[in-house]
Every structure is written in structure tokens, then in C-alpha cells.
């Protein structure tokens, strides 16, 4: 084995997600050795481009990883992309299936306006060029949960192209060392989701649920501008926040509303890109980062041992923490793309091209949608920084939890406490409390008003910081904390108050 040399460097932590992951990130690298340094043994230095040689130490070659993503986001809409069926997560199997979804012969697709608008909104938010004319294609493959034998997608001319997504990663040890990166967006295309196959192994049968068949998807293709799992996960997280802000997708990865395939290759800087593998169906940000980092290490390891990388599809086994070759359905697929003949070209307009007297129900005006775009996460963060003098990492943290920003803003509205204090309380004590209780913000027993009141007391110096923290501790379910509070009250009342009465009052107050 080659000696360790640090090779491919993705700078550090995916701190955007740090609050979710807790401390789990620290031990991870060492296990598969990607923070260690390695030397590449065999290959000749002379063949390497000069730039690379200069960068690396003598006799060593750096590895560079290249990561691209294909992200499928389920469009948040009442009905499916080409049919009137309802869209619901976890509805009884096959209860949301129209004749078209079941591919009954003679049925035809009818494009859902809402899905087109969602694609345009997303395209605009991601700085894409919106194609005023886009086309639909059929992509053929036989699979039990694809009833028509083809998926309608936008292969030739997608609805949006050439965009970009800015995301941030932490570059140093301190969370304040933020670096903003940009990944180019190749295209966004509208396409149908497939149904679900449920394999009943003991009975060796497959059951098909078509509820998801035909649900609208936005396929967002990110160019291979990323270099590690952290970057990829951060980019996906930012996209997730944007989709949620736009309302174009709920983008809940656990419910499969956001699914990621990653294309990964490694090469030496200045050399042509290496052979890539595709890791499919990553459905959590943590696994995405892990899978990518594992795959990069695996590829480096293979190449350094004189083996070749196969252009293959792999899956990530989250239990083992490694990627495995997928048993491909039938080897190399030829999707036999063909124009979808039942859908005319999708034509969009802007104010300049809008035909006079056009029925607003029949046309989509890009400018109109642009003017009504909601505030995007980056803008929100910028505002927080400007308005409250907040640190950038705190602005990220506030947006990172569903409902946390709103909670923060409600507290701010009702308290005289300094924004910095509020930020610190919300992000550290309140969020820590929720994490410990395994609650979401919306499930929190502490209302914004309660926290605001507490902070007001603190601000008036009516109570001390430690007393305030005790209040939270009781809320946190620490019964001994109430004794400390009782002590504080007794002290304040010069031991004149009845302890049982104090306890009663405190319990009443704290359970409210």
C-alpha cells in the first residue's frame, strides 16, 4: 500500500448540515482514510502535465474528484404531470391512479399547468434560461412500475437550461470561515415519476403501486463542478431550501420527494476526466455525502492498485457505509428516445411575445412568474445579516430547520432583547432543547411568546441568565432543575415564600 498523502481535498465540513448531523462527522474520515495522505507508487511523473507536477511534491500525484448530480424533485401540485389524479404521500396503494396513469390504451397525456409553472419558477430561481419552446420525449424501458413502457421526459429540448446554484461550505476549522461556491446547472426538465415495485421475496412476487406513477418531477442536472460529498450535500441542501421557499417541491428526502443520483470520477489535475460511476437513489443528505466520499476513495484505491474503474451503476448500502455495483436490469440500456407525439411543443411567453388577446388560462408568461418569485434563501440570509448583524453561519443555521426562521422572527417581534442574544438563544439553547427531545420546531412546547417573555425578563435583569437556562432545562424534562429554580425564588423572596407554593406556581408556569 502506498504511504498516506493528502490527495483530493474537499475542504472540511459540511457545516450547513452540522446542526442536523451533530458530531457524527468528526470520526468519519479516518475510518475510510480520506483525511490521510497517500503516495502514488507506480506511475511515471514525466507523463504528468507540468502544472500538476508543480503542485504536488516530487513523486506524488494529487487526485482530484469530480462530482455531478442528477436530482429528482417531486413537484408539489395537487394533481399529476399529465393526468388529473391526486398526489398524496402514503395514500392506500393504487388509490390515486387514473386511466392514463395505468396506461390504458387510448389514453393521452394532458400537461398540468401547475407543473409547468413550478418548472419555470425553479428555473428562474436557479438563474436558468427558460426555453420558450420545449419538447417532450419518450424514454423506453420495460419495468413493472412503468406501465406505459416509457417515461415522458424532456431529453432534446428541456424547459430550462444554463443556470447556476450558489452554496456555501466551511473552509476552515471555525464555522465562520465560509466559502461560497457555485455549481452550474445544465438543465431542468419536466418528467413523470414511475410507480413503486414492492418485492415480496418469501412469496416471490412483486406488487405494484401506481400512486406515484405520473407524478411530476423536476430533474435538475448539476454539472460536475463539485469535488466531494460535503460540497454535493451542501449544494443539495441549498437546492432543497430554494425548492421549499418557492413551494415548487416539498423536497422531503425521507418521503422520496427529493432523490439524488451522483456521478463520480477521479483524475489527476490537468488530465482528462476519469471513468465515472453513478451512485443511484441517495435519499438523505448524510448518505449522499458518505456515498460520494466512499466512492471517491474506492476509485482512488482501485486506480492506485492498477485496476480500472468500470462505467457502472452502484448503490449505497447505508448499513455497511459502502457502494456496491447494482445488478443492472439488463446491462447497457438503449432508451430509444422518440418525440412524444401526443403533446405539442410547450410554448411559453414573456410580456413582449405575449399574443394580444391571449387567454390567460392558455398561456404562461415568464415575466409574470419572475415578478412574483418569493424571497430566496440567499436573500433571506443576506437580510438577516444586514438587519440583525448576524454572523453568516447563524443565518444558515436559522434557515436550516423548518420553521426555525419564523420562530426566530416571532421571538424578535415580541422581545426587547438584542437580536444577537435572541439568535444565540434560539440557535443554542432552544434548538439544543429540541434536538434532545427529538422534536421539530413546529412540535416545540415552547412558544415564541414564551421565549420572548423569558428573554424580556432576562433583558430587564429580572432573572439571571442561569435562571433562564434553568427554565429551559425544566422544559427539557430535567426534574432536578426545578429545585434550582426554587432555590432562586427562595433567595429572591428572602426565604419567606412557602416552598410548596413556589413549586406549584413554578410547575404551573412551566407547563403552560
Amino acid at each position: 500500500m502506498a504511504a498516506p498523502v493528502k490527495r483530493w481535498s474537499c475542504v472540511g465540513k459540511r457545516w450547513v448540515l452540522a446542526y442536523i448531523d451533530g458530531g457524527s462527522r468528526h470520526g468519519r474520515g479516518a475510518a475510510i482514510g480520506f483525511t490521510s495522505r497517500r503516495k502514488r507508487g507506480q506511475s511515471s511523473v514525466a507523463q504528468q502535465p507540468l502544472i500538476t507536477a508543480q503542485k504536488s511534491r516530487k513523486g506524488e500525484h494529487e487526485w482530484e474528484a469530480v462530482v455531478g448530480l442528477e436530482i429528482h424533485a417531486q413537484i408539489s401540485s395537487n394533481s399529476k404531470l399529465f393526468s388529473g389524479s391526486q398526489v398524496h404521500f402514503a395514500a392506500p396503494p393504487n388509490s390515486l391512479v387514473s386511466f392514463f396513469d395505468a396506461s390504458l390504451p387510448g389514453t393521452l397525456p394532458v400537461l398540468n399547468r401547475r407543473c409547468v409553472e413550478a418548472a419555470v419558477m425553479t428555473g428562474l430561481a436557479l438563474n436558468c434560461r427558460i426555453n420558450k419552446k420545449s419538447l417532450f420525449d419518450r424514454k423506453h424501458y420495460f419495468y413493472a412500475d412503468l406501465p406505459a413502457g416509457y417515461q415522458i421526459t424532456q431529453q432534446r429540448l428541456p424547459i430550462a437550461v444554463n443556470g447556476s446554484l450558489a452554496y456555501s461550505v466551511c473552509v476552515g476549522k471555525k464555522p465562520s470561515q465560509v466559502s461560497t461556491k457555485t455549481v452550474r446547472i445544465k438543465q431542468i426538465q419536466l418528467e413523470q415519476d414511475s410507480g413503486k415495485s414492492l418485492h415480496d421475496e418469501p412469496r416471490s412476487q412483486t406488487l405494484i403501486d401506481l400512486n406515484r406513477a405520473g407524478v411530476g418531477l423536476l430533474e435538475v442536472v448539476l454539472e460536475p463542478d463539485m469535488s466531494c460529498g460535503e460540497e454535493a450535500a451542501s449544494a443539495v441542501r441549498e437546492l432543497q431550501l430554494i425548492l421549499q421557499a418557492l413551494g415548487t417541491s416539498q423536497a422531503n428526502m425521507a418521503e422520496g420527494q427529493l432523490r439524488v443520483d451522483a456521478n463520480i470520477s477521479v483524475h489527476h489535475p490537468g488530465e482528462p476526466l476519469g471513468v465515472r460511476t453513478e451512485v443511484k437513489n441517495l435519499n438523505s443528505a448524510r448518505f449522499l455525502a458518505k456515498a460520494i466520499d466512499f466512492e471517491i476513495e474506492r476509485q482512488i484505491h482501485e486506480l492506485e492498485n492498477g485496476r480500472k474503474i468500470l462505467n457502472e451503476t452502484r448503490s449505497f448500502d447505508y448499513k455497511l457505509g459502502c457502494t456496491m455495483p447494482m445488478r443492472d436490469k439488463e446491462g447497457k440500456q438503449d432508451y430509444r428516445f422518440m418525440p412524444e407525439p401526443n403533446l405539442p411543443p410547450l410554448l411559453l411567453h414573456d410580456t413582449a411575445s405575449l399574443p394580444p388577446g391571449a387567454d390567460p388560462q392558455q398561456v404562461i408568461n415568464i415575466d409574470w412568474i419572475r415578478e412574483r418569485l418569493p424571497e430566496l434563501p440567499s436573500e433571506t440570509r443576506e437580510k438577516l445579516i444586514q438587519q440583525y448583524g448576524m454572523l453568516p453561519e447563524h443565518s444558515f443555521a436559522l434557515l436550516n430547520e423548518v420553521g426555525l426562521l419564523e420562530f426566530f422572527q416571532n421571538v424578535i417581534k415580541e422581545t426587547r432583547a438584542e437580536p444577537k442574544k435572541v439568535t444565540s438563544w434560539v440557535l443554542n439553547i432552544f434548538l439544543g432543547f429540541l434536538k434532545q427531545q427529538n422534536l421539530t420546531v413546529n412540535e416545540s412546547p415552547v412558544t415564541p411568546s414564551a421565549l420572548a417573555e423569558l428573554l424580556n425578563l432576562l433583558d430587564r435583569k429580572a432573572i439571571s441568565s442561569s435562571a433562564a437556562k434553568q427554565v429551559m432545562d425544566v422544559k427539557r424534562g430535567n426534574p432536578r432543575a426545578i429545585n434550582k429554580l426554587m432555590g432562586l425564588v427562595r433567595k429572591a423572596t428572602l426565604s419567606r415564600a412557602d416552598p410548596t407554593v413556589i413549586k406549584k406556581i413554578l410547575e404551573r408556569k412551566l407547563s403552560s
Partner: protein
């Protein structure tokens, strides 16, 4: 009564000369008597009688739904009919009962039409003879006509009459035979490369293919989505116009239908043809064209000219590429459209269950005939990544050139094109099956298919009987969405032609009184 046109019988219903139930029963009875024609796959007797009863109630109350109320119609078995088996004459759909009506079927029913049944066809409408369906071939009613039999007796004595029955043409042969044999007053066919016009010409009825996008395809089980159009088969042009008026217009369920509202179709009577310019495409003078058809074609042109129309020779230079271009586009879409027939959701499923793939393969092998499987195979070949540019894209370009040919001609001032519909009259089945389906389709579609490439309206009108006593049709092709103008011209021509009524008395003694004998001898163009 059965021999009358739709408009005539509609008037009779309104005036109470006959009730919808009586009419329906007469048609049902005739369907039984002509069962040997194999025109129907399913006869929906119960449904029909119920619908007739409903219609009768409406007439009694004076709430008739219009010209179609109480009129017996038939529908090709590739249109979805709610609660009635829809097979496409294929094993793969045997037993498949759609839960919904095709838009055109629903529109007919909404207008009070009485659905007699589902008519026979080539499997998935792939063919030009109505000989390649799983329920067997359709026999041309003219095989049993006095006109044809009379001529045959003169020629060959002792020949087995029964083995010499004629094909109907296809693929809507069942619908054409159903209309020709008086078992209904109008029938729906489908037309992808001539499938309505071809059997219409062979069966001596009117076969109309509307402009692409004028009539909804929702519920029509597709052959080639970009060329399929529901077709209308009737006994006269005016009837076709009535039915078109009921069917035309935007359908929210078919995104390829035109958005503009369609005005009701009422055919004006053309007093003269002075202002008309008729184009005769020189490329349609094919060497295979029978001399008889050619002669009727030129007689028709002369008729227009002598009545004051401007008749000019025009050129559609890319015509000869149409067949091969169609082959690529058709098979490609077929390969795609047939992918859904995997035995999972509906239709036939084989017994093999070793793996999903093995189940697909066996199901499809058992379910499709050789013609369908052959087209799926070629289509998938053309769509392969390495072939797509060389075949599919090229074919699409050629298709555009063919469509442009028509555009150029119409832009030069031509109103309507006049061409043959078929190369010759109907041939006996035994002769027809000497060639394979692909060869026959390629030959038989040559005058009809380019029209589908361009999405234009076209109608085949019966002109006269051949020396053998068999119908010959001519085709009129119009500008896109000028269906009404096209039918107006066709209607004028029909009046001049005075095509004779089929004489089936020997087979249908009970109905002899229903036929209008007075028209029989007049075949003006043959003089």
C-alpha cells in the same frame, strides 16, 4: 328503410314512420343474417336495444337529440367503449373491457346514436385487407352482390363461388362492410395511412378522413399517434358531413386537437364548379394503377372540366418517398405504443412466471401476431441510438418535404386534389394473401398515405362499378381544416356519379322492399 341514407332515416324517425327500436331490431336482424361477412367482432345487442328504447322515449316526448338520435352506428374495435370489450382484433386485448368511452364514441352516444357493435379490423389496424386480425378476415359484401355475381357467372362456370369472396380492404374493413351491408347508417373507422378510405373504396361507401386535429383521438387505441385520425364511413357524403359535425372540435383530453371553436357542418349545395381549381397530381399515375381506375379518374377530371372547373396537372415530387418514410415513422411509433402491452395491468398474460422479463416476452409473443411483432422489431431498430439519426430523423425530414409538396400545390391556387383511392377494385382473398402484409400495405396505401403525413382531410367517394361489377372509388384531398369545402366538392361529384346501390336481395329477401331499386341502372360515368 335500411337502404336509406342517414339523413333520410333520420327524417323518417322524426316523422314517426319508424321507431328507433324497430330500426335497431331491423339492423340487428341484418347483422345476424350477414354474420358470415365477419364485419362485427362484438354485437352489442342489449346495449343497442336499451339505447334505442331511450331514444324512442325522447322522440315520444319530442326531445330528440338531433339528426343522430336513434340512428344505428358501428364503431371499429380499436375505439374504447365503456363496458364493451375492445380487442383491436388482437389476442393481447381479448377480454379487455375499457372503463371509459373514446371521446368520439361518447359524442355519438350523447347525440343519441345507437351502438350496434364493434367492427373487425386488421390486428391493431396494421394492414390493408382486414384479413390479419385474430377473429379472421372480413368478407366484402360486394362478393355476394347481384352485380358482381352476375358478371362472374358470365365468365367462369363451375368455380367455387364461396372460395372467391373478396377482401374489404383495410384496416377498417369491418366498418366499411357494416355500412355497405346496411347493418348501420354510419361507422367509425380509423385512418393512419388510408385505413378508412381504402376499404370505403372497395366496399362502395364514402370514407372520410378529417384533418388531423379536428377530431379527438382520445380513446382511439393508437397505431401512429402523429397520423391517426378517426374516420367516418357512410353511404353518402352528406351523411359523413352530419357525423363530422357531431364529432369535430377541441377535446381537453387530446392536446393535439385544435383550440378554435368548430362551427356546425352544413354542406351547401354547390350550384356549379366554375370557381373551382382541381389539381391532378402527376406522380399518382402509378404504373400499377389499373386501366379501369385510371379511366374513371380521367373521366372524373373531364367531368369537372366540362362543368367549368379549372383542372390542372400538379406535381407532388416527394410522393415516391412516402411509403418508405411511413414505414420508418409508423414502426417506430408502433414499437413505442405497443410497449404498454406487457400483461400486467390488463389484457392477456401468459402462464410463465419465472421472471418478469420472461413473462413479458411470452405474453407479447402469444399476444401479438407476426405483423405487429415485425413492426415492433423494426421500430425498435430505427429508434436505437446508433440508427436514430439515419432513420427516424431522416424520415421526419422527408415527411416535412411531403407535407410541403401539398402546401405548395394548395398555395398555387389549387382547391382540391383529385386522385384514385386504390390501384384497383377489391381482389379475392386468395389472391390477396399471396403477398405478405408488408408488401400489400406498401402497395395499397400509395395514394392515401401521404395525406396522413401532411395531416390533410381526404375523402374517398364511390364512382362506379368496374367491369367485374365491383366498386371503384376516387379520392379528394383538401387543404388542412378545409374539411367542409372538401366535402362540398365531394358531394357535388357524388351527385354526378350516381353510384349504384348494392344488390343483396338474394341474401336478404326480407329486406328487398327496403332498397331503392330506382337508382340501380344509372352509372353515369360508365357511359
Amino acid at each position: 328503410m335500411l337502404g336509406r341514407t342517414l339523413r333520410e332515416v333520420s327524417t323518417a324517425l322524426k316523422q314517426g314512420h319508424i321507431t328507433p327500436t324497430e330500426l335497431c331490431q331491423k339492423c340487428l336482424s341484418l347483422i345476424k343474417k350477414t354474420k358470415f361477412l365477419n364485419a362485427y367482432i362484438t354485437v352489442s345487442e342489449e346495449v343497442a336495444l336499451k339505447q334505442a328504447e331511450e331514444s324512442e322515449k325522447r322522440y315520444k316526448k319530442g326531445h330528440s337529440l338531433g339528426d343522430l338520435d336513434g340512428i344505428p352506428v358501428a364503431v371499429k374495435d380499436n375505439f374504447s367503449t365503456s363496458g364493451i370489450e375492445t380487442t383491436c382484433a388482437s389476442n393481447i386485448l381479448k377480454g379487455y373491457v375499457p372503463p371509459y368511452n373514446a371521446t368520439v364514441v361518447q359524442k355519438l352516444l350523447d347525440k343519441g346514436a345507437v351502438l350496434m357493435g364493434k367492427t373487425n379490423l386488421d390486428e391493431f389496424a396494421m394492414g390493408s385487407g382486414s384479413t390479419d386480425g385474430v377473429f379472421g378476415p372480413v368478407k366484402n359484401p360486394w362478393s355476394y352482390s347481384k352485380q358482381y355475381r352476375g358478371k362472374r357467372k358470365q365468365k367462369a362456370h363451375g368455380e367455387n363461388e364461396d372460395s372467391n369472396w373478396l377482401i374489404t380492404g383495410g384496416s377498417s374493413g369491418g366498418s366499411a362492410a357494416a355500412v355497405a351491408a346496411f347493418t348501420c347508417f354510419a361507422a367509425l373507422g380509423s385512418d393512419t395511412g388510408g385505413s378508412t378510405r381504402n376499404p370505403a373504396a372497395h366496399c362502395g361507401v364514402v370514407g372520410f378522413k378529417p384533418s388531423y386535429g379536428l377530431v379527438s383521438r382520445h380513446g382511439l387505441i393508437p397505431l401512429v399517434n402523429s397520423m391517426d385520425v378517426p374516420g367516418i364511413l357512410t353511404r353518402c357524403v352528406d351523411d359523413a358531413a352530419i357525423v363530422l359535425g357531431m364529432l369535430a372540435g377541441h377535446d381537453p383530453k387530446d392536446s393535439t386537437t385544435i383550440q378554435d371553436p368548430v362551427k356546425p357542418f352544413t354542406l351547401p349545395t354547390l350550384a356549379d364548379v366554375n370557381k373551382l381549381c382541381i389539381g391532378i397530381p402527376k406522380e399518382y399515375l402509378a404504373p400499377e394503377l389499373s386501366s379501369e381506375v385510371r379511366s374513371f379518374w380521367s373521366k372524373a377530371a373531364n367531368l369537372f372540366e366540362s362543368e367549368g372547373a379549372k383542372v390542372i396537372e400538379v406535381s407532388l415530387p416527394h410522393t415516391s418517398y412516402s411509403i418508405i418514410c411511413y414505414h420508418v415513422l409508423c414502426t417506430s411509433e408502433v414499437a413505442s405504443n405497443m410497449a404498454r402491452f406487457d400483461g400486467l395491468e390488463y389484457g392477456h398474460r401468459c402462464d410463465i412466471n419465472v421472471s418478469t422479463e420472461a413473462m413479458y416476452a411470452a405474453t407479447r409473443r402469444e399476444g401479438f401476431n407476426d405483423v405487429v411483432r415485425g413492426r415492433i422489431l423494426s421500430g425498435n431498430f430505427f429508434l436505437l441510438k446508433e440508427n436514430y439519426e439515419n432513420y427516424f430523423i431522416k424520415a421526419q425530414k422527408v415527411r416535412r418535404l411531403i407535407a410541403n409538396d401539398f402546401m405548395n400545390v394548395f398555395n398555387s391556387g389549387v382547391d382540391v386534389l383529385l386522385t384514385p383511392t386504390t390501384l384497383s377494385e377489391a381482389v379475392p382473398y386468395l389472391e390477396f394473401i399471396k403477398e405478405d402484409n408488408r408488401t400489400r400495405s406498401a402497395q395499397d396505401d400509395i395514394f392515401t398515405q401521404a395525406v396522413n403525413m401532411a395531416g390533410l382531410p381526404a375523402v374517398s367517394v364511390p364512382v362506379a362499378l368496374s367491369n367485374q361489377g365491383l366498386p371503384i372509388g376516387l379520392q379528394f384531398i383538401g387543404r388542412a381544416f378545409c374539411d367542409q369545402q372538401l366535402l362540398t366538392v365531394a358531394s357535388w361529384f357524388e351527385k354526378q356519379a350516381q353510384f349504384p346501390v348494392i344488390q343483396l336481395q338474394e341474401l336478404m329477401d326480407d329486406f328487398s322492399s327496403d332498397f331503392e331499386i330506382e337508382k340501380l341502372s344509372s352509372v353515369s360515368l360508365k357511359q
